[in-house]
Structures are given as structure tokens and as C-alpha cells.
């Protein structure tokens, strides 16, 4: 895997257009997932362009100290944060655990009753309402299948904290899906 990465990086550095196209194809998903979760629709294309240009221009400085995906993910995450900086979003908006996420004894498990397509839409909506950091963690861990160690390098947090926030994020999504308002809407 690493030798492929090295070859690809070397080819891009040598100015082979098809190599950069390949890199774009390979990491488009990762970048798009992060951008999709963090950036409003109108700005997504610009941010994606910005991220890939930073990747292209910064590739000379990439020293293979981590996986290429981690490095690109890091650029994507920090570019998104930078873009959102004017709006001053808090990474940790209301992070303290909400009551009920500890065990969920009183909740009915509506998740098991909702059809998958509907569930997808609702989960998407609930994720969009989460703090930036939670959204990023859920995307990197579940959609991009990244390990906790890689994610911790991307978001600059210790592994234990990442794991902890990931648990909270999922518990919160589950809790919100099981809210009475959602139940009534069904």
C-alpha cells in the first residue's frame, strides 16, 4: 500500500497529470465526505478545489510520516475549519453529555421500526445538527473507515478523546432518533 502511495506521490511531483488525476479519484471520496459534512452546499465546490490545490502544492513537503489519506484528511478538515472560521463555529458546541445518553432505559427503539431509506434521511438530518467535531468523527470513522489513530492525527486530539466523542456522537444520534417528536412524525 505504501509503495503505491510513494509511486503515486513521486509521479505527481514529476508533473504527470494522469497521476494527479488518479490521486484525485482515490481521495475524492474522503475529501468530499468531510466537506459534505462540514460546509454548506453553496461553498462545497470551492472548498473542494481549495483542498486539492493545497494537496497538490504541498505534496513536495509530504514526508510519508503518516498515510497519505491521513495527510489529505488533515488538510481537508483544517481547510474546512478555516473556511468556517468567520462564522466562528465551536468545535465543541454543547459537547457535555445530554441526559439519557448513558443507557437509554426509557427510550423505545424506534430505529428498529423505521424503514432503512427513511432512517438514512433522518440520520443525515441528525448528523447535520451535531457539532462540527462529532460530524467529522462520524464521517471519518464510519464512512471512510479510518482507524482511531489516523482520525486523532487529523483532528489533533488524543485517541482516547476521539473514541470518547465518537461514542457520545452516536449515542446522541440514537437518542435524537428516539425522541417523541420523531416518533410522532412517523
Amino acid at each position: 500500500m505504501e509503495s503505491h502511495e510513494r509511486e503515486l506521490v513521486a509521479a505527481v511531483r514529476a508533473g504527470k497529470t494522469h497521476a494527479f488525476e488518479k490521486l484525485l479519484e482515490r481521495y475524492e471520496g474522503l475529501v468530499c465526505h468531510i466537506v459534505y459534512r462540514l460546509i454548506p452546499d453553496a461553498d462545497r465546490k470551492d472548498v473542494c478545489q481549495d483542498i486539492f490545490m493545497r494537496v497538490f502544492q504541498g505534496l513536495d513537503r509530504f514526508r510519508f510520516e503518516c498515510k497519505l489519506s491521513t495527510w489529505i484528511g488533515r488538510i481537508a478538515y483544517h481547510t474546512c475549519l478555516h473556511r468556517l472560521q468567520k462564522k466562528r463555529p465551536s468545535l465543541y458546541e454543547d459537547l457535555p453529555e445530554e441526559p439519557g445518553t448513558g443507557m437509554g432505559a426509557e427510550e423505545a427503539d424506534l430505529i428498529l421500526q423505521i424503514e432503512r431509506r427513511e432512517l438514512l434521511e433522518r440520520v443525515d438530518k441528525e448528523i447535520a445538527a451535531l457539532p462540527l467535531l462529532y460530524r467529522t468523527l462520524l464521517t471519518l470513522y464510519h464512512v471512510d473507515d479510518m482507524r482511531i489513530a489516523e482520525i486523532s492525527r487529523i483532528v489533533d486530539l488524543p485517541e482516547g478523546t476521539v473514541k470518547n466523542y465518537l461514542h457520545r456522537a452516536r449515542a446522541r444520534v440514537r437518542q435524537k432518533l428516539n425522541r417523541p417528536s420523531v416518533q410522532e412524525a412517523l
Binding site: G15, Y36, Q49, M53, F56, M103, A105, R174
Partner: protein
């Protein structure tokens, strides 16, 4: 002894095979007898699977083309800079060498030695060499002035490189 339900965190860790063995055994034993927790575990499992679904956002074709275009332009510019810098570097070296040589050595005498050597090797016809020699003598060049011009050109090329690297267009690169 009353057995407590595992909390959300413990249940998630168990589903991901990330709980310590003691917790794992306790949770598994608990799940065997607790329908409520089995349903909780199942709902987390479904949630995990939904969370793993690709949100389906892809890079529009137009954006992809724009990125590739910008990368191409950026690379061409970098290549031009590298090439220009090399040329300027070698130019300065060559010009300095020429200047020093012209100051200390008589270029006509050097050329004469080269001409005689080439005549000896018989690689080039003697008449051609003699014609070139005569041409040089007739031009009556000021070698020091020529060397100075070369140095000036190389310095201009270097300044041009500096401007280009600062993102401003000058006139050579």
C-alpha cells in the same frame, strides 16, 4: 446480586469488539437474559450500518476539470521557474568563467591553440577552421565587454527569477 444494564458506551465498545475481556463476558452474559439490552444493542448495530452509508456527495465533473486545469497551470509555472533558475545559475557560472578567462587569458591565443589541435586530429577541415579564425580576427571583438554583457544578462535572468517566484511577471520567464 442485581446485574446492571451496560451503558451506551460499553454497549458500543462491545459491538466494535473494543471492550476489555471482563466487560465483554459481563455484557454477553447480560444480553442473554435481557431483551431490552438486546434491542438496544441491535439498534446501535443498525445505526452503525446506517452511519457507514456513503452520503453520496461526489465532486462535480466541472469542478474536477477545474482542479486538474489549475494543477496543470501551477505545475507548468513551477517547471518554468525551475528551468529558469537552472539557466540563470549556469548562465552566471558561464559568464563569470568567461569574464575571468577574458581578463587573464588572450582568447585569440586560446582559439589558435584549439584550432591547431583540431587540425591535428583532422576531425574538421583545415579550411573551415581557418575561415572561422579569420572571421573572429576581423570582428575585432572586445572580449572583456562581451564577458561583461554575459554577466549582466545572467544577473537580469536571476532578478527575473526572483520576480517570478514572488508571483510577478517580469519579461524573461
Amino acid at each position: 446480586m442485581k446485574e446492571t444494564h451496560p451503558n451506551d458506551r460499553e454497549l458500543q465498545a462491545w459491538l466494535e469488539h473494543d471492550s476489555p475481556q471482563r466487560d465483554r463476558l459481563r455484557i454477553e452474559s447480560h444480553l442473554k437474559q435481557c431483551l431490552f439490552c438486546r434491542r438496544r444493542a441491535e439498534s446501535f448495530r443498525v445505526l452503525f450500518s446506517v452511519l457507514s452509508t456513503n452520503p453520496g456527495y461526489e465532486l462535480p465533473l466541472e469542478t474536477r476539470k477545474q482542479i486538474l486545469g489549475r494543477a496543470q497551470v501551477s505545475f507548468s509555472r513551477r517547471q518554468r521557474l525551475v528551468l529558469g533558475a537552472r539557466l540563470a545559475f549556469y548562465g552566471v557560472g558561464l559568464a563569470l568563467f568567461a569574464a575571468v578567462s577574458a581578463y587573464f587569458v588572450d582568447p585569440i591565443a586560446v582559439f589558435e591553440r584549439i584550432r591547431l589541435s583540431l587540425i591535428d586530429t583532422r576531425w574538421i577541415d583545415e579550411r573551415v577552421l581557418t575561415s572561422v579564425h579569420t572571421l573572429f580576427l576581423n570582428l575585432n571583438l572586445d572580449w572583456r565587454l562581451l564577458a561583461f554583457a554575459l554577466v549582466a544578462l545572467a544577473v537580469i535572468a536571476l532578478i527575473d527569477q526572483l520576480f517570478s517566484s514572488l508571483g510577478r511577471r517580469f519579461f524573461l520567464c
